[in-house]
Symmetry: C2
Subunit: 238 residues, 2 copies
C-alpha cells in the first residue's frame, strides 16, 4: 500500500503509548499503600480503568456536562476509595493520587520509535486524556509530541467522529493524510470511518496477563506492527 501522502500520525495514548496498568500498580505499591491505600493494586487499577468507558458514556448521553478525564478519573477514584473504605487520604493526597494518570510510563519501544517516526511524520497524540495530562505524561516519559491533540479540543470523546475530524482540521490536513496508531480496533475503525489511514500496534499485556480483547487486528487496518520500532521499519524510515 502506498502511504506517500501520509503527513501526520495521531496516536492513541492509554495502552498504546503508555502502560497505564503497570504504572498504576507500581506507584500504588511503592507510594500509596504506605499512605493508607491498602488495596490489591492490580484489581484497583483495573477497576479505575473500568470506570472510564461508562463515565465517558455518561458525558456522551448528556447525563453529565462536558468534563475532562481528570475530572472523570476523580469521580471514579472517590467511588473506589469509598468502596474500599479508604479514609486516610487528605484532599491534597487525592489530587496527587488522581494525577498518577499524568505519570504513566511509556512502553520500552516508544521513545526510540517516536524519534524515528518523527523524522518523516508530524506526530500528535490523539487521546481522550486532557491536554494537561498529555503534556505532563510526555515530559514524564521523555518524548515530545509535535502537537498535543485531545478529545478535550473537540469536546467529544473517542470514538465520536468529531474527535478525528477536529484533529485533521487542526493539523491542516485531509483525513487520508493522517494515520491513526492504536492498540484498539474500535479506535482504528472509528478513525477509518472518517477517512484516516490506520496502524494497529500489538499491546497484548495492556490489560495484564489475562487480556482477552484486541489481541488481533481487525482485517480493515492498513498496517500491523509489533511495536513502534517495527512501525518505523515498515514505513521505511530507519
Amino acid at each position: 500500500m502506498d502511504f506517500s501522502d501520509v503527513k501526520a500520525m495521531t496516536f492513541d495514548v492509554f495502552g498504546t503509548v503508555v502502560d497505564w496498568r503497570g504504572s498504576i500498580i507500581r506507584e500504588g505499591e511503592d507510594v500509596w499503600t504506605a499512605k493508607g491505600v491498602e488495596v490489591d493494586w492490580p484489581e484497583f487499577a483495573d477497576s479505575w480503568r473500568g470506570g472510564y468507558g461508562p463515565s465517558m458514556q455518561r458525558v456522551r448521553n448528556g447525563e453529565l456536562p462536558w468534563m475532562n478525564i481528570d475530572a472523570l478519573h476523580r469521580i471514579i477514584l472517590d467511588d473506589l476509595l469509598a468502596q474500599h473504605k479508604v479514609s486516610a487520604l487528605s484532599e491534597a493526597d487525592r489530587v496527587e493520587l488522581n494525577k498518577v494518570w499524568h505519570r504513566l510510563n511509556p512502553w520500552p519501544d516508544v521513545v526510540s520509535g517516536l524519534e524515528s517516526l518523527r523524522k518523516r511524520f508530524v506526530l500528535a497524540s490523539l487521546s481522550n486524556g486532557n491536554v494537561a495530562l498529555l503534556v505532563n505524561m510526555a515530559r514524564h516519559g521523555g518524548y515530545c509530541w509535535d502537537c498535543v491533540l485531545s478529545a478535550e479540543l473537540a469536546r467529544h470523546y473517542k470514538p465520536d467522529p468529531e474527535v478525528y475530524q477536529t484533529a485533521a482540521a487542526l493539523l491542516g490536513l485531509k483525513p487520508r493524510e493522517v494515520m491513526m496508531v492504536a492498540a484498539h480496533n474500535g479506535d482504528l475503525k472509528a478513525s477509518k470511518a472518517v477517512g484516516f489511514r490506520t496502524a494497529f500496534v500489538h499491546r497484548p499485556r495492556e490489560f495484564g496477563p489475562g487480556q482477552t480483547t484486541d489481541l488481533k487486528p481487525d482485517p480493515s487496518v492498513d498496517v500491523i506492527a509489533k511495536d513502534f520500532n517495527d512501525l518505523a521499519d515498515q514505513l521505511q524510515i530507519n
Copy 2:
C-alpha cells in the same frame, strides 16, 4: 520577585520566537522573484504583516466569520499580488507562497534558550498563528513545544482575554502559574490583565532597522530579558 509557583511559559511567536520579516525577505528574494513576484521584498513583507491586525479586527467585529491565520494571510496576499499586478502565480504557487509563514526562522538564541527553559517549565506557544502553522514552524526551526496553543483553540484572537484564559485552562493551571513571554507590550498587558506573569524580550529589529514600536518594556512587566538565553539565566536554570 518570586516565581517559584510559575509552572509554564507561553510564548508569542511572530516576532518573539521567529524573525518573520527577515525570513520572508530571504525566501522572497531567493525563490519568488524568479517565479515572477518581482517586488521590493522588505516592503512586501511589511505590507503583508501590516494587513494582519486589520484583518483580525474584521473577524473580531463579526465582519468576517471565524477564520484562521492561514486564511487571513491568503486574503491579504491576494490583495497585495493584485496591487503589484503579479499574475504569474498558479493557485498551487499561491498556496505555497502563503505557507512561507510556516517556514519562518527562529532568532539565533531561541533553540538553546528554549532547551534551557524546558528543563524547568512547560513550554507552550500562544500565538494568533493556527495550530498547523505553529507545528510546521517548530519542525522547520528545530525546536519542540510541550504544547502548541493557539488563538485557534479559543476562536478568539489575542489580545482578547479568552485566548489567555483558554491557554491556562488547557494547561490545567491558574493564570498566575503561567508566564507570558513576548516582545510586545500589548500582548503582555493583556495577559497580565487575566493574571499571567509577564516577561518582555527585546526584539528591536523585528520590524527592520527603522523600528519604532516596543523598543522598551512597559513598567508593568515582571521580567525584562535581552533574549531567551538571558531569560533562562535570570530564572536561574542554566
